[in-house]
């Protein structure tokens, strides 16, 4: 039985200028499931996956220049729907939903597995919508809750202070880095109360920012989730009535700068570290007994150091890879341009890993969300009969299922690397002309991607203590 608590308004710390507490490492890893993963011949599978990526790199050496462009050329779609007014309404609905969820967070069940706020934010928004946004359609433009309230109050062109456009998305970079810090290190991101306060705080910050700097500028340069979803949406097959293979959008000329590159590095590094810091390997490194995980409170500092260290490390490795490529080619290639363009090609890997990392947890949590929808306000309802839906977790301990699930995860990781390799090759083609130069320019990146494949698959197979 759960209790609805009336939290006094005083507790609401408005204007908490923290990042919106979203996403977490949902440490619901089922121990028995892991046990079966350790029995699989994962070394063989990892080798297979790595060979796949390596072969792709090799095959591309012999690819005719321009063939990638030809394959990735999008086809125009016949129908157009002018959806703009509809979008305003759906965004308002998104805002309403968020408001309702925050209310449920503050006054609903105290058990995070029964409260729709953490359930929807983590499982539906962070796990599911992220993937939908990256692969299927521009969901965020429909449900973005932030513009709605501002739209009611003032026009989008109203600006008090100018946000310099040369700042590009650096503000969003800072916010995303801070947010990832909270995601991985905060002690109780699932706590309904706590999450509600952070959500409200971020909403207030966003509203304030839009009021001062203008809605368009704020959403484009500062609001880190709008920036994130716009960026990962570049992998999508469909856009503006054109349909092509995943990643075709990245072949169109875009004015990405260093801030975009670092944003991508952050998503990838943070996602990778999110997987790493649960492993026996990492726990041993920081002197923690993996069989006696002490809890997040005790590990805040090592986690933050590891996270920001990972971001720094990936930046350096990427820079070295790009730089060495430049040194090995005849044509002059500007380092900054190469770094930026190659960084963007890492986007598919970040998305593939996000899917793989959360897949098992998602399969369980989405059932809990559905069951939770039966009684959102804890009134004892049973809407749509969902309350009698069982939450099945036993399937995770059936060895056949464990194998299928693992292959799905690994498949996504491998495919995302293959796509990254293709994009990387195409990027090299755009920077240098001779075939030899194309190969040598991306040699550093190719090696990086092979190692990243091994790393990503190893993370999936590695025993976890957290």
């Amino acid at each position: 039985m759960y209790t609805n608590k009336m939290i006094s308004l005083v507790k609401l710390v408005f204007g908490v200028l923290g990042a919106f507490m979203l996403g977490t490492t949902p440490v619901w890893a089922h121990a028995a499931n892991q046990g079966f993963v350790l029995l699989l011949p994962t070394t063989a599978y990892i080798a297979g996956g790595t060979v796949t990526v390596a072969l792709t790199i090799l095959l591309l050496i012999f690819a005719k220049p321009g063939i990638i462009d030809a394959v990735m050329q999008p086809v125009p779609l016949r129908f157009t729907a002018s959806t703009l007014p509809l979008r305003d309404w759906s965004q308002s609905t998104g805002a309403l939903c968020l408001a309702l969820l925050i209310l449920i967070g503050l006054r609903g069940p105290t058990d995070p597995q029964a409260n729709l706020l953490p359930l929807v934010i983590w499982t539906v928004w962070w796990m599911l919508f992220f993937v939908v946004q990256a692969l299927i359609f521009d969901l965020w433009s429909w449900i973005n809750p932030f513009p709605a309230v501002h739209r009611m109050l003032m026009s989008e062109h109203r600006v008090i202070l100018n946000l310099p456009s040369r700042l590009s998305i650096w503000p969003a970079v800072v916010l995303m880095a801070a947010f990832q810090g909270f995601v991985l290190a905060d002690t109780a991101p699932n706590d309904p109360d706590r999450l509600a306060v952070f959500a409200l705080g971020y909403w207030a910050l966003t509203l304030g920012g839009m009021t001062v700097f203008g809605r368009e500028a704020w959403l484009k340069q500062v609001e880190c989730f709008s920036v994130l979803f716009a960026l990962i949406g570049l992998i999508r097959m469909g856009r503006s009535n054109r349909l092509g293979l995943p990643g075709w959008q990245l072949l169109q000329d875009r004015d990405h700068d260093l801030s975009h590159a670092i944003f991508v590095v952050i998503i990838l590094a943070a996602g990778s570290f999110d997987g790493l810091y649960e492993t026996f390997w990492w726990l041993a490194k920081i002197g923690v007994n993996p069989l006696e995980y002490p809890g997040r409170t005790a590990l805040i500092m090592p986690t933050l150091i590891g996270l920001y260290g990972s971001i720094l490390l990936l930046t350096i490795i990427l820079a070295v890879a790009a730089f060495s490529g430049i040194k090995w080619v005849k044509d002059p290639v500007p380092f900054k341009a190469a770094f930026i363009r190659f960084a963007i090609t890492l986007l598919p890997i970040a998305i593939g890993y996000h899917f793989a990392h959360y897949f098992v947890t998602f399969l369980v949590q989405i059932q809990i969300v559905v069951a939770g929808l039966a009684d959102p306000l804890a009134q004892g309802w049973n809407l749509f009969g969902l309350g009698s839906r069982r939450v099945l977790v036993g399937f995770l301990t059936v060895p056949e299922n464990v194998k299928i699930i693992w292959f799905t995860q690994a498949g996504m990781v491998v495919m995302s690397h293959v796509l990254a390799v293709v994009l990387c090759h195409r990027t090299a083609e755009a920077l240098v002309s001779s075939r030899r130069d194309v190969v040598m320019l991306q040699l550093g990146l190719s090696i990086l991607m092979i190692f990243y494949t091994i790393f990503g698959l190893w993370l999936l197979a590695s025993p976890r203590g957290a």
Binding site: M6, D111, Q113, A188, G295, V391, G394
Partner: protein, 430 residues
């Protein structure tokens, strides 16, 4: 399986009716969001410190199921002192720091009467001091020896489940008499493993047995074959308590190492909680022996109370969820929630508990308890509660794996698991 419809959400409003004092003391919060279901008396609020997330989540789910089932039964029978029981659940994320915060929320925000339900030792150890400071009775379901060791405080009690020391010690007579007197111990090289090593070495020596080898495996290890050659040839019994994701690998490699002729195997079901004994890779366990807190597989001679409990918590004859037979329960531990809640009820009734002002009386009433015979309130078996050490003692089951099924071959008596008192909490002030 978590059936969320079984959770009847009881709304609280300042009640009208007899016992106005109960209302004030019962710590009832004014109606939330205006739910209008009136209660004739204010509920007893029990704060359930649940491992809803974190490494304990699988246990958390089953502890929750058992808790809800126990409370449903208690309320069906009229509640405690005529008042309904309401569970307030907070997630401690299996984190000691968070656990202490949760207890604060229970005491100051939710104003519960007592807190209960924690399993993982490090969380109990991290939370209990706060319970003592808040003067909040804290009933843990942890099987850790920390309660009886004297490490904690007079507000922390463990009346519903036995502790590891008692479990280990009570195994020695059966092992010495039936399996062998020369034992090799294999355990993870940290506190949990050391406890088994220390408690068992002493106990088996008292039975005229001997630990011929102590193989301590580093906790980070995930492959074990290289340790097996150190098992002495004269070993009659291997006593193993491996835990963590590598357990299945351990069993598989042990099987590959020994083949068909192996020493007797004795382990603790903790290694395989929530894992089906019939899982591929565990064939080597045929004929092996396990300590079980409560027999996972339904025994032919199980008591009516045991069978009724099994049905009430939605578990089938193989110890798995009735509506999800691959979901094997944490049967060896979760009964502790059921029994603890019934102890809280009995204690509150004995103390004529009215509200938080009576918390000290409640502690004293529970400390005065001794015999708890097997019954629907104590379906795992007879218990004896030691009011000085705040620890319950009970029967321990030893089962043998036969064709993928665990059959109880021996029940260790309560006396088998007794040990000298290490503390007397009753001398501490409340």
């Amino acid at each position: 399986m978590t059936d969320l419809t079984k959770l009847t959400r009881r709304k609280t409003l300042l009640g009208l009716g007899a016992g106005a004092g109960a209302l004030a003391a019962g710590g009832v919060m004014p109606g939330s969001l205006g739910f209008a279901q009136a209660q004739s008396s204010a509920p007893i609020k029990i704060g359930f410190q649940k491992h809803a997330t974190g490494i304990g989540a699988a246990y958390g789910r089953w502890y929750d199921t058992t808790t809800q089932a126990a409370v449903a039964r208690i309320n069906d029978m009229g509640g405690i002192n005529g008042r309904p029981v309401e569970i307030v659940t907070e997630d401690d994320a299996t984190d000691p720091g968070r656990g202490a915060e949760v207890l604060e929320k229970f005491a100051n925000q939710h104003k519960v009467d007592v807190a209960f339900g924690t399993l993982f030792s490090h969380v109990v150890i991290g939370s209990a001091p706060r319970a003592g400071e808040l003067k909040l009775p804290y009933f843990v379901v942890s099987e850790g020896h920390h309660v009886a060791s004297g490490m904690l405080n007079r507000y922390t009690l463990q009346p519903g489940i036995t502790d590891v020391k008692s479990q280990v010690v009570s195994m020695a007579p059966f092992i010495a008499d039936n399996l062998g007197k020369k034992v090799t111990m294999i355990y993870p090289d940290f506190a949990f493993g050391h406890d088994h090593r220390d408690f068992f070495s002493e106990a088996i020596a008292a039975q005229g047995g001997e630990v011929v080898a102590k193989i301590a495996i580093p906790p980070t290890e995930t492959t074990f074959t290289r340790y097996f050659p150190s098992i002495p040839r004269e070993t009659e019994v291997i006593y193993h308590v491996m835990v963590g994701p590598a357990v299945l690998t351990f069993v598989k490699e042990l099987g590959e190492f020994f083949g068909p002729s192996r020493p007797e195997l004795f382990g603790f079901i903790d290694s395989l909680e929530a894992v089906d004994i019939k899982s591929p890779g565990l064939e080597f366990l045929e004929g092996a022996f396990f300590w079980e807190g409560m027999p996972r597989h339904q025994q032919a001679d199980a008591s009516d109370a045991s069978n009724a409990y099994r049905a009430a918590v939605g578990v089938n004859e193989r110890g798995a969820a009735i509506d999800d037979p691959s979901n094997v329960s944490t049967y060896a531990h979760m009964f502790g929630c059921w029994e603890t809640l019934h102890v809280i009820k009995a204690g509150m009734e004995a103390a004529d508990y009215q509200g938080p002002a009576d918390r000290a009386k409640l502690i004293e009433a529970v400390e005065a308890m001794t015999d708890m015979p097997e019954s629907i309130e104590h379906p795992q078996g007879d218990k004896v509660f030691n009011g000085k050490t705040h620890q319950a003692f009970g029967k321990q089951y030893i089962s043998k794996v036969s064709d993928g099924t665990l059959n109880v071959v021996h029940t260790a008596s309560i006396e088998d698991g007794m040990y000298e008192d290490e503390v007397n909490y009753t001398t501490q002030s409340l």
